[in-house]
């Protein structure tokens, strides 16, 4: 293939993943191009979260390759991939129970920078993450991930529990990140209406990729 890998933040090629004795992914190809928002669309159990886990290094494929910026990272541990700029926010339990908000943010950078993006966090800095509501916890997790300025941001159902105004801001932030040349990959049950027409959509069904194309094509077809 002559397609330049430099244009891809990360890629899965023919990846098969097994949890216990059950195959979760049956040879899946996923591409995360720089400068675009990507979507993993599918029902529960279709393998969306497993794709994210494989990209982030939590799940190891027994077949296939994972590359980040053209480099083979199939055997690389999760924390090393985080250092390469692949940052995942899981759908649930995404904060540390014993850390304060400020300490959580400081894992990825100066907490004040996150406060500039999400001013409502400032009042919560001294609180423990478990004392927050579900939506606030999600906000802390997203703010920490954005603070790391990842080259590939992986979000598992990021809008769950967030206030509508925050959701709108998050969407703008994500499209802005894409415009700035970074890659973003989100999961969703169905393609959301706000998805830009050039977003790359992967439709998964029972651990297989059944459709790949742009959001605009999916809407027309």
């Amino acid at each position: 293939m002559s397609a330049p890998t430099g244009g891809l933040a990360a890629e899965l090629r023919g990846v098969r993943v097994r949890y216990g004795r059950v195959d979760r992914l049956h040879g899946v190809d996923v591409r995360c191009p720089n400068g675009r928002v990507g979507f993993l669309v599918g029902r529960n159990g279709s393998g969306r979260s497993t794709v994210l886990a494989t990209l982030a290094g939590l799940a190891r494929p027994y077949q296939g390759r994972v590359t980040v910026a053209g480099r083979d990272v199939t055997a690389l541990a999760a924390h090393r991939r985080a250092a390469l700029g692949v940052v995942l926010v899981p759908a649930r339990r995404a904060v540390f129970s014993t850390l304060t908000v400020a300490e959580t943010l400081s894992l990825s950078g100066p907490p004040e920078h996150a406060a500039a993006r999400f001013p409502e966090l400032t009042a919560l800095f001294a609180r423990r993450c478990t004392e927050l509501s579900g939506g606030q916890q999600q906000l802390v997790a997203l703010a920490r991930a954005l603070l790391a300025d990842p080259s590939l941001l992986l979000l598992d159902e990021p809008e769950r529990g967030l206030a509508p105004t925050v959701v709108t801001r998050l969407r703008h932030l994500l499209t802005d990140r894409a415009k700035a040349g970074h890659a973003v990959l989100l999961t969703a049950r169905t393609l959301p209406p706000w998805a830009p027409d050039d977003a790359l959509v992967h439709v998964l069904e029972r651990g297989r990729l059944v459709w790949l194309g742009e959001a605009g094509e999916l809407r027309q077809g």
Partner: protein
């Protein structure tokens, strides 16, 4: 007796032990929070480092300072890092169950004790170097203050405060606390959880070594006494709920001082011996109390190990039908029947095998079948042996004695099990270990319980062949019982409970009742094994039912394959055979090595055999 000055003197005398216990608690808490592993191997590390320091200072003539630097700042932390790399890292990477981690700890403990015994011998040594010379200063009021106790107290406080400051104000501290809360999430945030765990093990080994070096001059140094002493200080960490440093320090000091004050009380009368036992084993009492008090809300990483899930990953049914199981049973039966064809001396050597197999079978039932990590099966066997001795001394027929003992122990299992079985994971393991320590200290080792006991086989079992055949019959009944429990309705309830407790509740399984039933049956089986063990040796030997021995038996079952009855029988052969064929203690070293390697051998030897057979 009412002299307050004397009370102060005793309190000051207790500070030395109290500071060491507090230090041990701090080390266990930090190691647990950074690695998720309760360091049951601490006693082994302590005794190893203490012996090494004595070797350097007394035998090689090094100055104490240099010896201490090498032992405590190089060897001990190095050992900790090695443990993370070779033993616990692999377990963590494949998210091993809590039972496997316990077994790996036991393996390390047994290996280190075995190494000490092999290198330096088992004779107790009195010429142990002290880090700080035991000088005394006279305080105003005439009280004597030991300089070494003050130095130890200061060290503990400095270490605790330093740890707190590091956790609060440094980047490493925040990262370490992130790992402690959720290691997976911490990895996603770019934290190297393996490196944090290595730091935790290095610190845990350092404190273990320091505790060993501090305690060694207070007792005679021998390979078995010191580790148990150190393991009893688990009480401190358990009281601190494996989380709070201030509580660990306070409880450690309080226990040390309290123990010292109790010597001063020293009442006479009938309660005297019991109170003396409490005084000399105050840490065992504290361990029992601390483990039995409900744990309440535990957050973060701790939750996964302490309350989450249960026993061990199961092997499941072998693929390709029951052919493999039939082969295994045939091998077992052949191995068990062969000694009947041997001459008397040959039978005598394997007389303990069926008895031991019954005890191991009880572990298979309780841990393999029910998913309950019980470290106390050995002490149920001890109770059985004791009951057999008491009944046999009263000339009760042996068959009746066996039946009475087994029923009595099953009842005792139900009774003891009641406050225990709703615990899960590591807490259950701790409670049962505490029970084992308590029974050993307050029953098996006390003259008031075991003095003047004689165990005689009845006339028709006097011959070794006859007795061995009788043992086989009891073992057969036990094996049928286990097979029966694991089949049918109860068996399905057990599997459901083991795999997903909440799901079992939801599916209408009466979880507490099933657990209690399994626990009681396990106690009865182990008790039967204990009766046979006592009869085979025609004596009650408390050292056989030592808590560490119980740990070794548990580890042997897991190494063999925790839900494999065949594995349990073969493991009994291996334990007895290895010691008989080489030197006593060899079986412990082999089991220890295999158990420490649990990370590389999922499912134990039985799992390995099945994987090989499956291709």
């Amino acid at each position: 007796m009412a002299d307050p000055g004397l009370a102060i003197d005793f309190a000051l005398a207790g500070v030395a032990v109290g500071a060491a216990a507090a230090l041990s608690g701090v080390g266990l808490v930090i190691c647990y929070r950074l690695t998720g592993v309760l360091n049951l191997a601490q006693g082994g590390i302590a005794v190893f480092v203490a012996y090494l320091l004595r070797e350097l200072v007394v035998v090689r003539g090094w100055p104490v300072g240099w010896g201490a630097v090498l032992c405590l700042l190089v060897v001990a932390p190095g050992l900790g890092v090695l443990l993370q790399l070779a033993v616990f890292g692999p377990l963590q990477r494949r998210r091993a169950a809590i039972g496997e981690v316990v077994v790996a700890c036991v393996g390390v403990l047994v290996l280190l004790i075995g190494a000490v015994a092999a290198i330096w011998g088992t004779a107790p040594l009195a010429d142990v170097p002290a880090l700080v010379p035991a000088r005394t200063v006279t305080l105003p009021g005439g009280h004597l203050l030991r300089v070494d106790a003050v130095a130890q107290l200061g060290t503990v406080l400095v270490i605790a405060v330093a740890l707190w400051a590091v956790g609060r104000w440094t980047g490493f501290g925040v990262r370490a606390r992130a790992v402690s809360a959720d290691p997976t999430l911490a990895e996603l945030a770019g934290v190297n959880a393996g490196r944090v765990a290595a730091a935790g093990w290095a610190f845990g080994s350092f404190t273990a070594g320091l505790v060993g070096v501090l305690l060694a001059p207070l007792v005679l140094l021998d390979p078995y006494g010191l580790p148990l002493l150190v393991m009893e200080t688990l009480a401190v960490a358990v009281a601190a709920r494996l989380r709070s440093l201030p509580i660990a320090v306070a409880v450690g000091l309080a226990l040390g001082i309290g123990q010292s004050e109790l010597t001063w009380l020293h009442p006479g009368g009938t309660l005297g011996p019991l109170l003396d036992a409490v005084q000399s084993n105050l840490f065992a009492v504290a361990l029992l109390v601390a483990a039995l008090v409900p744990w309440g809300f535990v957050e973060g990483f701790a939750e996964q190990g302490l309350l989450g899930g249960g026993g061990l990953p199961q092997l499941g049914r072998p693929r390709g039908g029951g052919g493999g199981a039939a082969w295994g049973a045939a091998v077992c039966a052949l191995a068990l029947l062969t000694p009947l064809a041997l001459r008397a001396g040959g039978v005598r050597a394997v007389l303990t095998v069926p008895a031991l197999a019954l005890i191991l079978l009880s572990v298979v039932l309780v841990t393999g079948g029910g998913g309950l990590v019980s470290l106390g099966q050995g002490s149920f066997a001890g109770l059985g042996a004791l009951a057999a001795a008491l009944l046999a001394s009263g000339r009760v027929p042996v068959g009746a004695a066996l039946v009475v003992t087994v029923l009595g122990l099953a009842a005792a299992g139900l009774l003891i099990g009641r406050p225990v079985v709703h615990r899960r994971g590591l807490v259950l393991a701790l409670v049962t270990f505490a029970l084992a320590v308590g029974l050993s200290r307050f029953v098996f080792e006390q003259p008031y319980a075991t003095a003047g006991l004689t165990v005689l086989r009845p006339v028709f079992l006097r011959g070794d062949h006859a007795f061995y055949a009788a043992e086989l019959a009891v073992l057969g009944v036990g094996a049928l019982l286990v097979a029966g429990v694991r089949r049918g309705r109860l068996g399905r309830a057990l599997v459901a409970m083991r795999d997903h407790e909440a799901g079992a509740w939801a599916a209408g399984v009466a979880v507490p009742r099933v657990k209690l039933l399994v626990f009681g049956l396990g106690a009865g089986l182990a008790g039967a094994g204990g009766v046979l063990l006592a009869l085979s040796g025609e004596a009650f030997d408390a050292s056989v039912f030592d808590p560490v021995q119980g740990l070794l038996w548990f580890a042997a079952v897991v190494v063999a394959g925790v839900d494999s009855a065949v594995g349990a029988v073969l493991a009994a052969f291996a334990l007895v055979g290895l010691d008989a064929a080489t030197v006593p203690g060899m079986s412990a070293v082999v089991v220890g090595a295999l158990a420490a390697g649990a990370g590389w051998l999922p499912g134990g030897l039985a799992g390995w055999v099945r994987r090989v057979a499956a291709g």
